[in-house]
């Protein structure tokens, strides 16, 4: 696997579509070559309800270059499993993850695209994504003549950026995209607990975050002291969330250039 990654690397697209909660933003590589700049924003577009002709209007905005799509975490299912020992053989590892998934996931795993990543000696992050949704996205792009070379997730991309910060990474971050929130707790930049929840009001967000922090304290014996809020779009009063976090003695960290964290690293 390591040798594969060393030799074979994939071209990163020059253009990205971030598909959020019923909206999408189109980003193109900035002229300076550093990062991406938002060029278009389209509201009231649901990925699930989108059809080929509807996507045709969007496709017209896209330039004819390789394109990537970054989805928020609403359609992704994250699990972090801890094992006594993780085997090196990919087959065994896959069987082990599937066995653990079957215990916690009520649906048929075969309907999902399963990917898993070894986080450290004992933990594996598993990501499930509905195969039918993936095919739907690929069909939309293909039928409109757009080359889709990247299909990723915003939370994973953020994790990849934060892991580079190591000790400077926040102990948890909350990614907010309208009503969808996802809180990710990190140790040395690596996730150990991930939770998604939906909340439309600031008070509800605060309540859910408080519950989550208490759960982490009880289950992982860790007390997070720093936090970053990664906001895509939000109608809630964010200062309420920040204030409540401060009351819990959690220091908010403003990460430089964090709006670029949803895009994959250039290799």
């Amino acid at each position: 696997m390591v040798i594969d990654h060393f030799f074979i690397q994939y071209k990163k697209p020059a253009q990205y579509v971030y598909w959020g909660e019923n909206y999408l933003d189109i980003y193109n590589a900035s002229d300076s070559g550093k990062g991406f700049t938002k060029t278009h924003s389209i509201d009231d577009v649901s990925l699930l309800e989108m059809n080929t002709s509807g996507f045709g209007d969007i496709a017209r905005v896209l330039t004819g270059v390789d394109t990537g799509i970054i989805l928020n975490s609403s359609a992704f299912i994250f699990n972090i499993f801890e094992f006594e020992k993780i085997p090196w053989q990919e087959g065994l590892k896959s069987e082990l993850v599937e066995w653990r998934l079957k215990k916690v996931f009520p649906e048929n795993i075969a309907d999902y695209e399963l990917n898993f990543f070894r986080l450290d000696k004992k933990r594996i992050l598993s990501i499930l994504f509905k195969k039918s949704l993936k095919e739907h996205i690929e069909n939309l792009f293909r039928e409109n003549g757009i080359s889709l070379t990247y299909l990723g997730n915003s939370t994973v991309e953020m994790l990849n950026h934060l892991v580079k910060l190591k000790k400077d990474a926040p102990e948890f971050f909350i990614e907010i995209d309208k009503s969808l929130s996802i809180s990710v707790f990190l140790g040395q930049g690596l996730p150990y607990y991930i939770r998604k929840f939906r909340a439309d009001q600031a008070a509800d967000v605060v309540s859910e975050v408080t519950k989550t922090i208490n759960f982490v304290k009880n289950s992982y014996s860790r007390v997070p002291r720093t936090c970053s809020l990664m906001i895509r779009r939000s109608d809630i009063e964010l200062h309420t969330v920040s204030d409540e976090l401060s009351k819990m003695e959690i220091l908010p960290l403003d990460l430089k250039n964090s709006e670029q964290f949803i895009f994959p690293h250039k290799e």
Partner: protein, 178 residues
């Protein structure tokens, strides 16, 4: 640790990077191979020289072994020759006249006065029996002679009185020095 999560079906391989990386690795590998070949050829040359030296040493050894064998053969020949000569010399020593005289001297020394030898038969071999006839003027002189020779395996075969003399035929064994 980076999570490489991209589930798109049509990922595009960065061939430029791939070929550049492969090229760099290839150049490094060729470099290593060249260095290896050079080192090996130097070692092979050294090995050949050593092998030649060894061959020369082996040839020298073989020549020396051959010479050694020849010398051993020569020594054996000389030994054989010397053995023959020694045997002959020993024969000469054994057959020299001196033991004769010594034996006769001894017999003369042992003979008491009034006893004389009429005839004697003796051998040059050490330890061989000596046969002789004695004549004594009296029987007591003859007995005296018997006493003198009694320590030398004396065997008396005949006694007679003839012509007024006491004759006796006897055998003794005298061991003489070579």
């Amino acid at each position: 640790m980076k999570i490489r999560y991209n589930i798109a079906k049509n990922k595009k391989i960065n061939y430029l990077r791939f070929f550049l990386l492969t090229g760099v690795l290839l150049v490094i590998s060729i470099g290593f191979i060249l260095v290896g070949v050079k080192t090996l050829s130097a070692s092979a040359k050294q090995f050949r020289n050593k092998k030649n030296e060894l061959k020369i040493c082996q040839e020298e050894k073989e020549a020396k072994t051959k010479k050694n064998k020849e010398q051993k053969k020569e020594i054996e020949k000389i030994k054989k020759k010397w053995k023959g000569k020694r045997g002959f010399a020993n024969g000469l020593v054994n057959n020299k006249t001196f033991p004769f005289l010594e034996k006769l001297d001894k017999i003369e020394e042992l003979l008491p006065a009034g006893v004389f030898i009429r005839d004697i038969t003796l051998s040059t071999k050490s330890g061989a029996n000596i046969q002789f006839n004695l004549a004594a003027i009296s029987s007591s002189k003859l007995l005296e002679a018997y006493n003198m020779f009694s320590d030398y395996n004396l065997v008396i075969s005949r006694e007679e009185l003839r012509d007024g003399l006491y004759n006796a035929t006897m055998k003794i064994k005298l061991v003489t020095k070579k």
